[in-house]
Amino acid sequence: MSIAEEAPVTIAGVDVEEQARARRDRIHRIAKWTLPSLVMVLSILAWHLYVTIGEIPHYILPGPVRVAQSLVEDWALLWPAMMITSRLTILALLMAIVGGVVLAVAFTQSKWAEMSFFPYAVILQVTPVIAIAPLLQIYVESAFVAALLCAWIVAFFPILSNTTIGLKSADHNLQDLFTIYGATRWQRLRYLAAPSALPFFLGGLKIAGGLALIGAVVAEFVIGRAGTGLGLASTLLEASYRFNFGRLYAALILISLMGVVIFAIMSLISHLALRSWHESALKREGQ
């Protein structure tokens, strides 16, 4: 009996181990979507059964049907609120990107600027935004602008700190190489520091996206209270005062949905920017 006969090869050139791996990969790909979907369906079902069988009053816990109803019936109210919260979040994030990157570049270009201002960036970050919000409400006339500032304060620090680290993390030998070739400050920033900082910046962006939403929600809670009803979070708070728990849950679901969408967009941007070269975006063989 020859060795060739012993080896259990079924498809040309693909051994048993490879076949098993291909099968496992296929199952993983399907399970990645079906399992969480199944968990969601089962949870909603359990929620529904708990509410109907236990006869829980809707002002304690509304059932999924009631929440879905609120989503549809209150859509005219929820949709504009969501637009305001989205605008708040996106504007805050954009300002955080601009502010964070500009400050990070300033800090890495000038040691003096960093020494002078970095401690204050930290102070701004560690002071709870919920404690600053009432002050902003007093000094800033527009509720929207006050809320925007709140969300910006929360979102900008991770971008600043990550980008600063990234700009400083360029390979030392490459820096020497740039020195030998007589690179200008601008060339160094553009061709060396900026690409080195990109993965760090994108990491900061992912965090900042979530934080901008949190900042917007906190700001609406505090600032929207003064009767200047802002976005989804204000709607949620108001619904809780009125014991309209169906609407409260509907608003909550929309807020989480926004968070998920923001995270997905940031992940996509990061993937597209790094896929060709960065370690974090590489698929390794056999995994």
């Binding site: 020497d176 190489l177 030998i180 070739y181 007589g182 370690e279």
Partner: protein
Amino acid sequence: MPPQDLPLGQRPRLLDVSHVEKTFNGDVVALKDLSLEVNEGDFISLLGPSGCGKSTALRLISGLMHPTSGRINWSGGQGADDLGIVFQEPTLMPWATVAENVWLPFRLRGQSYVSVRDEILEALKLVGLDKFQNAYPRELSGGMKMRVAIARAMVTHPRLILMDEPFAALDEITRFKLNNDLLELKAKIGCTVIFVTHSVFESVFLSDRIIVMAARPGRVIRELHVDAPYPRHEDFRTSAEYAAFTRQASEALHDAMGEAA
């Protein structure tokens, strides 16, 4: 006749290093009284144990560091594109393709890719990587990355190429291959090389002059001339001549270590 084909004593002077010393923190003498005449076409190895100041010497010559005392003079003055350098690591930009990495020295002079594309392809062809111009560094093996680094160092045809233990991290088979290729390259483009290494075998195979150095303080112990003609091929490695030169260099290195101990 290109300077590298002239005998050692007749080549025009490129660089004079005279009585250069480097002291760190006021009391650590990294390099003591280094004098070195570098001639056009030379292949000089700085050979010695760790801490003998060979890398410091290279950094001083490259201008990345300035001597505490002594002078480094380029004959005819130093121009912006007189120098190429290869580090122990390939030191490529991971976000740029192979061709873009080789473009770097031109790019920093403000030259567009299109205007120097021929030079870039020529350099890549010389190191045997013209088919990989659009690959990213992560797709290449260690030896191939080092070839890209060499292509980048020589693409501007600098008068002097400095190499700081470029092959130390590679396996022996790859190292031998790159040694052979490096000599071939040097013969083709006719540059001058100063090569830092701690390998006796590598230094003998490559250089026509070996500067043996000792540590604490870093200083020159002896200069050896390897009077074997170029081109040197794989058969040089097994020749009696080669064995004799490696014995000389090993003994010199042994003395260097002995004095340090």
